[in-house]
Amino acid sequence: MPTPYMTHPARIIARRTETAGIHTFTMRFVDRAVRDTYRFRAGQFNMLYAYGVGEVAISIVSDPADPGTLEHTIRIAGRATGVMAKWDVGDVVGVRGPYGNGWPVEQARGRDIVIITGGLGCAPVVGLINYIFRRRDQYGELHILHGVKTPNDLLYRERFDQWRREPRTRVYLTTDHPDKSWHYRIGVVTELFDELGAPPSSVAMMCGPEVMMRLAARSLRDKGIDENAIFLSMERRMECAVGLCGHCQYRERFVCKDGPVFSYRALKELMRVSGL
């Protein structure tokens, strides 16, 4: 059995700039055998490798129905992602995966969906929203809530506008510190809940700063949504992705392999304590 760190060459076949510092790369495994056997679920991630630099955990935003072509959106955040941002069509990169448990898209089937994000946008959630749109008849109402500190933090403004035009979809935007250009809501994301018409049978999925997720999860629970139907995508340092290197531990959980998606019920005790 090869080392769990074995990576497989994949070629970049398309590159798209989303907004300043954020790029989406489409890639295919070079080795046909790898390409033919590779499968993933919505919300899983790969470890992407830049030659001579290292690996970064990046979620897969493309659709699991087409596992031969992988899309990853990468935001420049450090040295490795800085190098990755320069990847171009024809370049060969390393990919290993898929890892993590992914979003509970099966459990959510037939129910209304509440998606909450905060901050600089969340690639895992983009993949989830695209997944639902491609299977629109399988899901109920879709509520997309997004909160930012300042209007400048609202990346992908066009994308939200595009989502808003989809059937049975509502988009709610809010900011803590509005300027003159802002014509959406003001306040933290939980303040949007008063106009949220999601029934207690809804499934909520969220991604963003932990404080925001914790407050949002509590508010949703207070609206009658079961703690087992509220899901949080956690972020931790992930190096091995198989529960071996120790970095992503969140008390007894390895975020890489037990998560990154957890129910609020599973996490609420841990989230009360800082620095775990």
């Binding site: 030659y51 340092r237 775990l276």
Partner: protein, 368 residues
């Protein structure tokens, strides 16, 4: 029924010779730089004969022992860990090609190792590391290659260091599993037992004869006396719950005021497994190695990602280490991550004692 054999002290030389002839690199405790460490044994006189060690929290000295006593030194800073989970090793070589690169695994091909004088706590620690590196879902190639051919000669402890608490962790002082041969030292020889078919074969090769009943009883008495005399204790009752519930106990801040966050405890710990993989590129730019190195939850960037450090304070990191070792490890791997070897106590430069920390937290929780 496993038979108990007698081995004269000179049998040790014979054992080393046979192991070396069988192709093993033989390692055992060797006095070096004022401590014992596992090192290559060419002859039994390489062993720290007639020596003992004095250990306390934050202190370790080799001292004169009893003339002729071979395994008088309980342990040193080094465990078996580095021989299986290497502190620094290349996992992959990535060679640049005209378009792209080729990745190949660097599989180690070490000679088989035989370890002489392994203590029960260290064998227990190896069994714990097995559960991490030889998983249901994957097996770590590099660990497995070294693990499968190793030969272990355990030595049952007949004295403990003041820092030892294996009795509390139920890992010693007698080795009960994971060895090929076990020895209990008596003034005039050893009582030997086999723990595997390879050990059985070794007993035949050594030409040992059954131990007289009084020797067997004497060996038992020495081990029991060692266990009874062990003063350091760790109360493990209800441990995951206690540490989880006390995550905000003020003691974490107090211990953090003494802790240097130096990572010594994690380096000497025989079970700590955190590691990182870094790229080391050749100067010609055509090849990069993916190198695994030991890491520590005490390092500042262990839980750091772009702009967020999840455990920024020393109190966060000490709590992570101790809670993982004694509590969350049980949830993750089905056993405690601590074997009671006491190394983290001895080799802590400021003498922080985890048994004392747990006792303080337990006492404080009991008051509420």
């Amino acid at each position: 029924m496993i038979q108990t054999m007698h081995m004269p002290k000179a049998g040790l030389e014979h054992l080393i010779t046979i192991l070396r002839r069988d192709g093993y690199r033989v390692l055992g405790p060797v006095a070096r730089d004022g401590a014992v460490a596992f090192d290559e044994l060419r002859t039994s006189s390489d062993l720290p004969i007639g020596m003992r060690e004095a250990q306390e929290a934050g202190r370790y000295r080799l001292v004169p022992g009893i003339a002729g006593e071979i395994f008088g030194v309980v342990n040193g800073a080094g465990s078996l860990k580095p021989y299986f989970f290497a502190p620094d090793e290349t996992l992959l070589e990535v060679r640049r090609e005209r378009r792209g690169f080729k990745v190949s695994e660097v599989a180690p091909a070490p000679p088989p190792h035989a370890f002489l004088g392994v203590r029960a706590c260290d064998l227990a620690a190896l069994a714990i590391q097995d559960r991490i590196f030889l998983h249901d879902h994957f097996r770590d190639t590099h660990y497995e290659v070294r693990r499968k051919d190793a030969f272990f000669v355990a030595v049952n402890c007949t004295r403990s260091a003041p820092t030892c608490f294996c009795v509390s962790m139920k890992t010693g002082p007698e080795a009960t599993a994971g060895f090929d041969l076990s020895l209990t030292e008596l003034p005039d020889g050893f009582v030997a037992r086999s723990g595997s078919p390879a050990g059985e074969a070794m007993i035949v090769k050594l030409g040992l004869s059954p131990a007289p009943g009084d020797q067997e009883a004497a060996a038992r008495a020495r081990i029991d006396e060692c266990a009874a005399g062990m003063r350091r204790r760790l109360d493990t009752s209800d441990l995951p719950r206690l540490l989880y519930d006390e995550a905000e106990n003020p003691r974490w801040r107090e211990v953090a005021s003494r802790c240097l966050s130096c990572a010594n405890c994690t380096m000497v710990c025989p079970t700590c497994f955190c590691h990182t993989v870094v790229d080391q590129e050749e100067l010609d730019g055509n090849m990069s190695r993916r190198v695994r190195q030991w890491d520590s939850c005490f390092s500042l960037d262990h839980a750091h990602i772009h702009g967020i450090n999840f455990r920024p304070k020393i109190s966060d990191r000490y709590r992570q280490w101790l809670t993982h070792k004694l509590a969350s490890w049980i949830d993750q791997f089905g056993s405690s991550g601590c074997v009671g070897c006491g190394r983290c106590i001895t080799w802590c430069p400021v003498g922080i004692d985890l048994t004392e920390e747990v006792a303080a937290i337990r006492a404080d929780a009991g008051k509420r």
